[in-house]
Symmetry: C2
Subunit: 239 residues, 2 copies
């Protein structure tokens, strides 16, 4: 039996991979930066390694091995080692900061802006991302994402998939759990939200990891709704 979605008032979105194509965006941005500075490096390898360090680093925060820090600072902590590994030398502090903030300059998937614009007519739309508030706000300005609100793990000092993030988002929107639906390309994120009583929409983004193998998915998870794009999701939801 299908879940009744008529109670849903707000859609909260995972961002990296779901709304924006982080991999192509970062590779293109850093390649352009390298050309401008005359630095030749394997920017694709650096990008994949950088993202590869993401989940292990967040898990260390979740386990309490690292104190809570905003994602910009965690990214920077990883970046310094990767610049060394990939032989990128001689960057000034301002240049390293520019490279680190590439996560603020990610581009949307082709359907993201049109789909969000349409979904916004019927639903409150917000981020619900591990990205920090400044990162998500700058990204929205860069990519033209029409959020009603920026909700971030930073506000709850906890990272997805900790329950506090999903619960905190519902609480801050003053909505009941079944009035909020998480939209994500990652089933582990959706499963964690579902376990807290939120509704779930799965949008597969098969290109997210390029030729690399995506992380394993929780077996047997069934979302409330699935659509191949945000525009198709709007269509299915009557928005």
């Amino acid at each position: 039996m299908k879940t009744d979605l008529s109670s849903v008032k707000a859609l909260v979105f995972d961002v990296f991979g779901t709304v924006v194509d982080w991999r192509s965006s970062i590779i293109a941005d850093l390649e352009a930066f390298g050309r401008k500075k005359g630095i030749s490096a394997d920017w694709t390898g650096l990008t994949d390694d950088w993202r590869g360090a993401y989940r292990p680093t967040l898990n260390r925060v979740i386990k309490g091995e690292l104190p809570f820090a905003r994602l910009d600072d965690l990214h920077r902590g990883t970046l310094d080692g990767l610049l060394e590994k990939y032989g990128v030398k001689g960057l000034s502090e301002a240049e390293k900061d520019h490279v680190n903030k590439v996560w603020h300059r990610l581009n949307p998937w082709p359907d993201s802006v049109a789909g969000l614009t349409r979904l916004k007519r019927k639903y409150l739309i917000s981020t619900l991302s591990n990205g920090n508030v400044a990162l998500l706000t700058n990204m929205a300005r860069h990519a033209g994402l029409p959020w009603d609100c920026i909700l971030s793990a930073e506000l709850f000092r906890a990272y997805k998939k900790e329950p506090a993030v999903y619960i905190g988002a519902c609480d801050m929107l003053c909505l009941k759990r079944d009035e909020v639906m998480l939209v994500a390309a990652h089933k582990d994120d959706l499963l964690a939200a579902q376990q807290q009583g939120l509704r779930t929409a799965f949008i597969p983004r098969p290109g997210e990891y390029g030729p690399r193998k995506p992380p394993a998915e929780p077996p047997g998870f069934v979302p409330d709704i699935e659509a191949p794009s945000f525009v198709a999701l709007a269509e299915k939801l009557g928005a």
Copy 2:
């Protein structure tokens, strides 16, 4: 000597009275509600008393006499007594909630949307209000306010004019104090921001309190910039 404003990257806005005309909006909304329900009452008196209770209630939170609670809950605490005082009887819980949420349905001053839209081209624009996140987000949807981000006292569990609110906003935007300018119709709010190193823009809203006398202003305060409307502010800032 004029302060150099070229460092400013974000404008954060006081909302009640600065962006929206709370008094006319609430009176009109509650009069329409009363007509629909067949309830005759002095809605203007109730509105003025409701707002009159705002600062004393927040001051009790600031002094620690009341635990931190979101503005919706503080409004509701005051409303119940005022409904009794003004002889408004027989409302259901859902109707009382509807009345309380009139603060989510406030209308902008005539220049607000056009001015914000223009300022957004050059600056990151955010709320910085004592209103809670859901209130500000719902209001933005109602009034068409094109915020990049919703910053609220709720995020810092402190009310303006406590320093934590101004400092917290700069921190969350990852900006230095002199990269953030508070835009407000109230000199006490601007003075508190200025004392924390923020830039200040004063927009007088002489109609805010209707025929009532506005609260006293701190003597001798000089804002960095003053303009009669958001559109005029955009003009002065080259946005």
